[in-house]
């Protein structure tokens, strides 16, 4: 495998691994705050017990989040050196602030998503010929990037759903075993209500995220929806089907008329561009980018040439599209028609996996709403223990929020391909000039090392859960346990 593939694989794996811990930290931190507040206002010791128990699980998880975060921070430099040079002037600042706030998870998440939002929709920046890189033009535009805002709320809500499901499932485990009922019922009630709100928010704001993408990342939307050709407005929505990249068709497609047009444009006459139309646009932008590239080479020889400067300025926004040609011809300006056509088709991300990951993620989102709503209703009716099969469903749903979140990251970042910075810098140019063997070695190291850590972490988590809050409290702080047992209403 080449450096690009290996680096992408490594970044993807380490980022997804990092997010496993981050999402739980995001959610549990809020749930812990809720439980602590209830303890402070009511003074009932069982709530303190709950904070202690869930807090221990939080602690085990938090350490892994911070530790794996350092890998992410270093990786931009180690594996994506040209990226770091090319956009470090804009990307570096929010990343540095993310790190400054590393211990305050929610705030930290805001800044990394500002950085990530800029990769999806690079506003407030321009190419500087003198430094051969992108530089900040308007930092407030970077800060208040609509894509970043929508992504932040969507991602944080996903974390909240994860935290809520974690508490819900483990509480269900206790209720199924008929133990620690006081703690489990209260925890479940908090988790079900918080989870319902979060699941609603994650789906609604996911739609917002899709809407902003529909305006700014048309190719991503077209690929997710497997829309090969532009349809008359309002476009139909393909529920399921088998997208085929070779023939540009979707086999066995089940379509609902109008729905996509209405979701993506929130109107009846808005047009959703299809892949072939977007590829045609891409071809034009590549040709325009080649003009910019030629002017850039001229300006490097004679920076004072005003006419050439004007040409460059007129086409500089398409410079990134010309860089797509570097895969076919290093000189860019001598590209043939066939090479331009091939590069234009490179702008289409892998349709089949995007189509399906997106659908599974959305289905899971609706499932979360249904499950949390049911449990919320059960909790309100004080019937949490009545239906054992429901408790079992809760228990077995434990891994689903993580799956949904990772699929979501695939949709967001896989859908951004072939770019690291949408329309500005292709992924294959972003990598470091390091030997492939080094990247293979580091990838192998991370896989082995991270797997070992995951096993230890899981073992500790399962052990803490099995030990249970009471035994655990009895070991930790006997006087609190004694008081708690004395104060507990008879069960």
């Amino acid at each position: 495998m080449d450096v690009v593939t290996l680096s992408r694989l490594q970044f993807g794996l380490t980022a997804m691994y990092h997010f496993l811990f981050v999402s739980l930290t995001l959610g549990l931190s809020v749930l812990l705050a809720v439980m602590e507040s209830i303890y402070v206002t009511t003074g009932r010791t069982i709530w303190r017990e709950m904070v202690k128990f869930w807090g221990t699980l939080f602690g085990i998880n938090f350490a892994m989040g911070v530790a794996t975060g350092i890998t992410m921070e270093f990786q931009f430099g180690t594996n994506w050196a040209y990226y770091s040079h090319y956009v470090g002037d804009i990307f570096g600042a929010p990343l540095a602030i993310t790190c400054l706030l590393a211990l305050g998870t929610n705030l930290s998440a805001l800044w990394i998503l500002i950085a990530n939002g800029w990769m999806q929709y690079p506003v407030g920046a321009h190419f500087n010929l003198a430094t051969m890189r992108m530089e900040v033009a308007d930092f407030t535009a970077v800060l208040f990037n609509p894509v970043a805002q929508a992504k932040f709320v969507h991602t944080v809500s996903a974390g909240y759903v994860t935290g809520a499901m974690f508490v819900l499932s483990i509480s269900a485990f206790y209720l199924l075993r008929g133990r620690n009922r006081g703690l489990a019922i209260r925890s479940m009630t908090v988790a079900a209500s918080f989870g319902l709100a979060s699941a609603l928010s994650v789906v609604v704001l996911g739609d917002e995220s899709g809407y902003t993408a529909g305006q700014n990342q048309k190719m991503k939307i077209a690929a997710i929806e497997s829309m090969w050709h532009t349809e008359p407005a309002p476009a139909s929505f393909t529920v399921v089907g088998l997208p085929d990249m070779a023939t540009h068709t979707t086999r066995y497609a089940v379509r609902i008329p109008w729905v996509l047009g209405m979701i993506a444009t929130r109107s009846l006459d808005g047009k959703v561009a299809g892949i072939d139309e977007l590829v045609a646009d891409g071809t034009e932008r590549i040709q325009s980018g080649m003009v910019a590239y030629r002017a850039m080479e001229g300006l490097r020889k004679d920076p004072t040439d005003a006419a050439l400067r004007a040409v460059f300025d007129a086409h500089v926004n398409d410079l990134g599209y010309a860089l797509l040609l570097k895969r076919y011809t290093p000189n860019v300006v001598d590209a043939t028609r066939a090479q331009i056509q091939a590069a234009a088709w490179d702008t289409v991300p892998p349709v089949f996996p995007l189509f399906w990951t997106f659908r599974i993620m959305v289905a899971l989102g609706f499932y979360f709403i249904a499950l949390f709503a049911t449990m919320f209703w059960q909790a309100s009716a004080r019937q949490l223990e009545r239906r054992r099969w429901l408790l079992r469903v809760c228990l077995w749903s434990l891994p689903l929020p993580w799956i949904a979140a990772e699929l979501g990251w695939y949709v967001a970042e896989g859908g951004r391909q072939p770019w690291t910075i949408d329309g500005v810098l292709p992924t294959f140019l972003s990598v470091s000039s390091v030997p492939a063997s080094n990247v293979a070695l580091s990838l192998a190291c991370f896989v082995v090392f991270y797997s070992a850590l995951a096993i230890v972490e899981l073992y500790l988590m399962v052990r803490t859960v099995r030990l249970g809050p009471e035994d655990f409290i009895a070991v930790l702080a006997p006087e609190i346990a004694a008081k708690a047992i004395a104060l507990r209403p008879a069960e």
């Binding site: 350490a63 921070e73 400054l100 000039s433 070695l441 930790l476």
Partner: protein
């Protein structure tokens, strides 16, 4: 003086402050971890040592995370070249850094002696390897690193991992380890009592004396090594572009700044005087806090010595000296430097206030009674 030049100098200095912050703050917990197998003989003693840093290492680690982030934001080409050039060394550093948090968090969760020994080793490695790698990295930066830029500013690096561990770089690595150990020892001097503290005094004195000898030896070697001289460049406020400058190699260039600006001798002197003070106080077993400050100042002196020797270079290139990175050609745009300055002014006081509060809460030594009274609530 142009505004851009001022901000570049400011961020060069801030980078120095951050590196000193990393070495002083992260340094003492790494030093304590390196001393763990030397000064603690049984589980209670080991837990005493671990608990002196247990509640604070996470906050200290933020300095390191911040340091890397600041290099990225303020000097992107430096970040790109250094991190990708030192690829395998960075991997080594990362793995050892990941061992630390999990070592701290996981060790206390089970009481089996095999389990605990494993994580003790992990903590030791997590202290030793970063200290060594940082020193070795500095040793290489001082000598120049084999990289060059093409006209799209894409960087190529031609060195290997083994070349990084050359004699001078290893010497710098040893200086770094000795420095971190004496600093860890002065910290444990403040935070422990009884037999652990006595052993710490002995180990700290040895590390301190070694540090003085190695640092002096490093100075002598550096004066005979090839350094780099900036002959012509676009200017201190010109756009950041490492192409179009002329740099030559010259023996003795690493000490040229001290001849030209004798006041900079303050840095190496502070390094020596600080360690001497720390060793004397540690041996006498008196004024532990002052001893800790002494070793902290020594670290500041040593890091500043490296910075002053290189100035205005940040990462010279041995392969193509004209590609060398200086603070004049490797910074972010003026706008970004200003934004970063504002962010620092807003957020840094918060982090500092939080740190100060945490250390106030945790002041005083960690004792065996504390550890045994509450066997699971502490590390």
């Amino acid at each position: 003086m142009p505004v851009y030049e001022v901000f570049r100098l400011l961020w060069w200095a801030l980078l120095g402050v951050l590196l000193i912050g990393i070495a002083v703050m992260d340094g003492f917990d790494m030093g304590a971890a390196i001393l763990l197998p030397v000064v603690a003989r049984n589980d209670i003693e080991r837990r005493i040592v671990i608990n002196t840093v247990g509640p604070v290492w996470e906050g200290n680690q933020v300095w390191l995370i911040l340091g890397a982030g600041a290099i990225f934001a303020a000097f992107p080409p430096l970040y790109a070249v250094a991190f990708s050039g030192f690829y395998l060394a960075m991997l080594l550093l990362l793995c050892s850094l990941i061992l630390r948090p999990v070592g701290f968090k996981f060790r206390s969760k089970l009481s089996g002696s095999g389990w605990r020994k494993t994580w003790d080793t992990a903590l030791f490695i997590g202290g030793l390897v970063p200290a060594l790698v940082f020193g070795v990295a500095f040793g290489n930066v001082l000598q120049g690193v084999p990289f060059r830029f093409d006209d799209m500013l894409r960087m190529t690096y031609t060195g290997t991992l083994w070349e990084l561990f050359n004699p001078f770089a290893l010497l710098c690595g040893l200086v770094s380890v000795a420095m971190i150990v004496i600093h860890g020892a002065t910290y444990l001097g403040c935070k422990t009592e009884g037999p652990v503290r006595e052993r710490t005094q002995r180990a700290g004195s040895i590390a301190g004396v070694a540090m003085i000898v190695l640092f002096a030896l490093g100075g002598i070697c550096a004066s005979r090594l090839d350094g780099y001289v900036l002959k012509s460049f676009a200017g201190t406020a010109a756009p950041s572009n490492p192409l179009g400058q002329r740099v030559i190699r010259e023996t003795g260039a690493l000490i040229a700044n001290y001849v030209a600006e004798p006041w900079t001798m303050v840095a190496p002197l502070l390094g020596i005087v600080g360690v001497v003070g720390a060793v004397l106080l540690v041996r006498a077993g008196r004024r532990p806090l002052l001893a800790f400050c002494c070793s902290g100042f020594a670290i500041a002196g040593v890091v500043a010595t490296a910075g002053f020797s290189l100035f205005p270079f940040m990462l010279p290139s041995s392969l193509d000296p004209n590609s060398s990175l200086t603070l004049w050609n490797a910074s972010s745009s003026l706008t970004t430097l200003i934004i970063m300055t504002i962010a620092t002014l807003v957020f840094l006081p918060v982090v500092l206030a939080y740190t100060a509060w945490a250390y106030r809460v945790l002041r005083g030594p960690v004792t065996a009674e504390e550890i045994t009274r509450d066997p699971h609530a502490v590390y």
